[in-house]
């Protein structure tokens, strides 16, 4: 498998010592936003991965130590959120996109 896994059917989150998980939920007006595209960008802005949010607006990445930008694309625009990941931990990001 190499493509973005279905975020609706992800296994229960278990963070191994080797993984730096970045996960969270995309909302609009406080409600989950399914189908948004979340791009994980490295500290130099390089693209690393992309997933589409689940029915509950959820997304998950397996990153590495360091600073990352989450760029969330939705119909009508995009919004950037920065996070810092650490091996052995799961950092949670809440992404709110503007109401249309």
């Amino acid at each position: 498998m190499c493509g973005a896994p279905d975020q609706d059917t992800l296994p229960t989150l278990e963070v191994s010592a080797n993984e730096a998980v970045v996960h969270g939920t995309v909302t609009r007006g406080g409600s989950p936003l399914p189908g948004a595209y979340v791009r994980l960008l490295g500290s130099t802005g390089d693209f690393t991965a992309e997933v589409q949010t689940s029915a509950t607006g959820y997304f998950r990445f397996y990153a590495a130590d360091g600073d990352w930008t989450l760029r969330t694309l939705y119909k009508g625009g995009s919004v950037d959120t920065t996070v810092t990941a650490e091996k052995g931990k799961a950092v949670e990001a809440a992404v709110e996109v503007p109401e249309q």
Partner: protein
Amino acid sequence: MSRADVLVDADWAEAHLDDPKIVFVEVDEDVSAYDGGHIKGAVRLDWTQELQQPAARDIIDRDDFSKLLSAKGISNDDTVVLYGGNNNWFAAYAYWQFKLYGHTDVKLLDGGRKKWELDGRELVKDVPQRATTSYAAKDADLSIRAFRDEVVASIGAKNLVDVRSPDEFSGKIKAPAHLPQEQSQRAGHIPTAINIPWSKAAADDGTFRSDDELEKLYGQEGFDGGKPTIAYCRIGERSSHTWFVLHQLLGNTDVKNYDGSWAEYGSLVGVPIQNDTSQKDV
């Protein structure tokens, strides 16, 4: 061959949805994407189950490709427009396979599913019924497919373009960051390979950069247009995306996709590997 021969935009696609000689084909790894909604009239190709052999790690052979397209109701003289999720990775892989087996007129939908969705264009759930055909594939065109021995022999001689992310290239991680890092093979890259991530060839919405931007990008990163080229990634689908750029959009003549890619190379015994990280993860 020009860009317009191999790449169509969403407006063109929308205007040709009812053209009987044009077949839209969605290619995904995650087949549930098609079930949730697809472009009207599009048929589905399952990358994992239909384009790969069930037992051996290889693409389907010529006969099975003929049977597959016959069953899908695709004729040799149809124009096939491929699109999919993941920024068209698997659609590009299917494109490469269609070309490998000699399909004459095949195009990619620029931006794939993502651009179509972000534009708010119509997706439907109706599955089209197409009459079966008698598709006849040609012998595989191996001028666009590289195997491992050729890759090893190309170290220091050809352009080896590693299109994975910089962290996969350096050896920091073994798989894309949306996947658990459970792979057992070694990390790193083929010595003398240059790292030009596939993503640099596309905008956020998944559409390809302009020819001028692409020429500039590859030139800046050390790509030598005078040399033969082999592109690779982890399992050959992101490198199909770059193969499409270098061969189909920019018209470089000798460009091969190494579909064995890092999943094969990083597991071979006795081949050189460059790992740029201080911690070797065995």
